[in-house]
């Protein structure tokens, strides 16, 4: 059972983000694309926060966010995108899908850990 699900096709990013969150006391699960992320979220009702990349194979992060809302109708899961994308169009699509926050890579854990912990409550 995890509190946070980190979704990224890059194992470097998954390891970095998951390692940092674990070190800060959070239980973390990982997924390597949107399809994997959606499946793991469906299987683990304890997940409160999804930290996801946008550009991934099989299913991108925004499509995953849209499916989380449409298929799970889950308002208790907070979604934050961690991506190189910074376009207003993408952010608008994220907002419409219920995404709570947006981080432009690279990941700087110290800047976000307090907010992540709140989003896990």
């Amino acid at each position: 059972m995890a509190q946070v699900l980190v979704v990224d096709d890059s194992s470097t990013v998954r390891d970095e983000v998951a390692g940092f969150l674990k070190k800060n006391g959070l239980d973390v699960a990982t997924a390597n694309d949107g399809r994997d992320g959606l499946a793991k979220l469906k299987a683990d009702p304890k997940i409160k926060l999804v930290v996801s990349d946008v550009n991934m194979p099989n299913m991108d992060g925004l499509t995953m966010a849209e499916k989380i809302r449409s298929e799970l109708g889950n308002k208790t899961v907070n979604i934050v995108m961690l991506t190189t994308e910074n376009s207003p169009v993408m952010k608008e699509r994220g907002k419409a899908a219920g995404v709570k926050g947006w981080i432009v890579k690279p990941f700087k854990g110290d800047a976000v850990i307090a907010t992540f912990k709140k989003l896990c409550e």
Binding site: S10, S11, T12, V13, D15, E16, A18, G19, K22, N55, V80, T83, T84, E85, N86, S87, P88, V89, K91, G94, K95, V99, K100, G101, W102, I103, V104, K105, P106, F107, K108, A111, V112, T115
Partner: protein, 322 residues
């Protein structure tokens, strides 16, 4: 249209006559060429190892491995056909049809001034907007700094290259698509350099395959992704996104021959960066080569830099709550 960036081209000067070499050197300075003189005994090894050349300036009297003049030009063309050869002759003699296939232009020393048009069309056939060139170096340095902690970085002045030789063993290609360009960014690095960097960078990361090739490729892939994202955010407008479904051409990579072709004869924009791991007291610099290959489309007159709006002023790594 933005002002073009002032870029240089590195050329090999195969010339043993002192006076002619001096004249050629002065000419190169005016033409934004970086002349590199090569002694005959080193020519072949330089040709094999140099990966950032733009052209060869060969004197008819220059001899190497028993070959001289036009015969040497044919041999040089056989080894490096992508490099235009400018042959300095001492007299006006017409080039044969076979010679014309390997020599871009023959000239006498007193005709150097008239060479400007052929230099421009042969070596500077693409112009790159100054904000693009400056911006690429800026965003790449930021991305590298973000990806690799505790490193010192330095970017060399960018140059234009024509050769097709690959640097190092690890390289990545990623498409760049906009209304003003279509092509690729390529990053190249030596595998041992990447391993050295990675062994320090991953010190605190939990990973089960720290030393595996897969981990190395992932780090490099993520570095490419960071630079690509920053490039898109800065230079590619949102409305260009639909262009990404247009035609592609095959990219040919021949590992044993260290050869790569993008199907176009156009020159490439080349940047080179040096990274030092600050944790190592006396480590040699690790080189990172970056090339921009706009082989599918290039319309610099349509280039524009995205305006930074108040909404996007957020620094990377910070959380923007909706």
């Amino acid at each position: 249209m933005h002002a073009p960036a002032k870029l240089q081209v590195k050329v090999l000067v195969l010339e043993e006559e002192g006076g002619a070499a001096d004249t050629l050197k002065a000419f190169c300075e005016v033409q934004d060429l970086l002349p590199v003189k090569v002694q005959p005994e080193h020519l072949m090894s330089v040709l094999r190892s140099s990966i950032d050349l733009g052209a060869l300036f060969l004197a008819e009297a220059y001899a190497c491995q028993g070959l001289q003049g036009r015969r040497l030009a044919h041999e040089l063309h056989r080894i490096r056909p992508e490099l235009p050869i400018f042959l300095r002759c001492t007299a006006d003699t017409a080039l044969s049809e076979a010679d014309q296939r390997v020599v871009r232009h023959a000239y006498r020393l007193d005709q150097l001034e008239g060479m400007t048009p052929v230099i421009q069309t042969s070596l500077f056939s693409l112009v790159y907007p100054e904000p693009l060139v400056r911006g690429i170096a800026e965003l790449t340095l930021q991305a590298l700094q973000g990806q690799f902690k505790n490193i010192t970085l330095m970017a060399e002045a960018p140059i234009i290259v024509r050769d097709r030789l690959i640097y190092g063993e690890v390289y990545s290609l990623i498409p760049l698509e906009a209304s003003w360009c279509r092509g690729y960014m390529m990053l190249q690095i030596e595998e041992r350099g990447l391993q050295r960097l990675q062994s320090h960078q991953l010190g605190e990361v939990e990973t089960t395959h720290r030393d595996s090739i897969r981990a190395i490729n992932n780090v490099f892939s993520e570095t490419t992704n960071l630079i690509w994202g920053a490039f898109k955010n800065r230079f590619i407008a949102c409305e260009d996104a639909t262009l990404s479904k247009m035609t592609q051409v095959p990219i040919v990579i021949n590992h044993p021959q260290r050869y790569i072709s993008f199907g176009s004869e156009d020159p490439q924009l080349c940047f080179r960066y040096h990274l030092w791991d600050n944790a190592l007291q006396q480590g040699e610099a690790i080189e990172l080569h970056q090339r921009f290959v706009f082989n599918l489309s290039w319309s610099p007159e349509l280039f524009r830099e995205n305006q930074v709006t108040a909404d996007s002023m957020l620094a990377s790594g910070e959380l923007e709550l909706f």
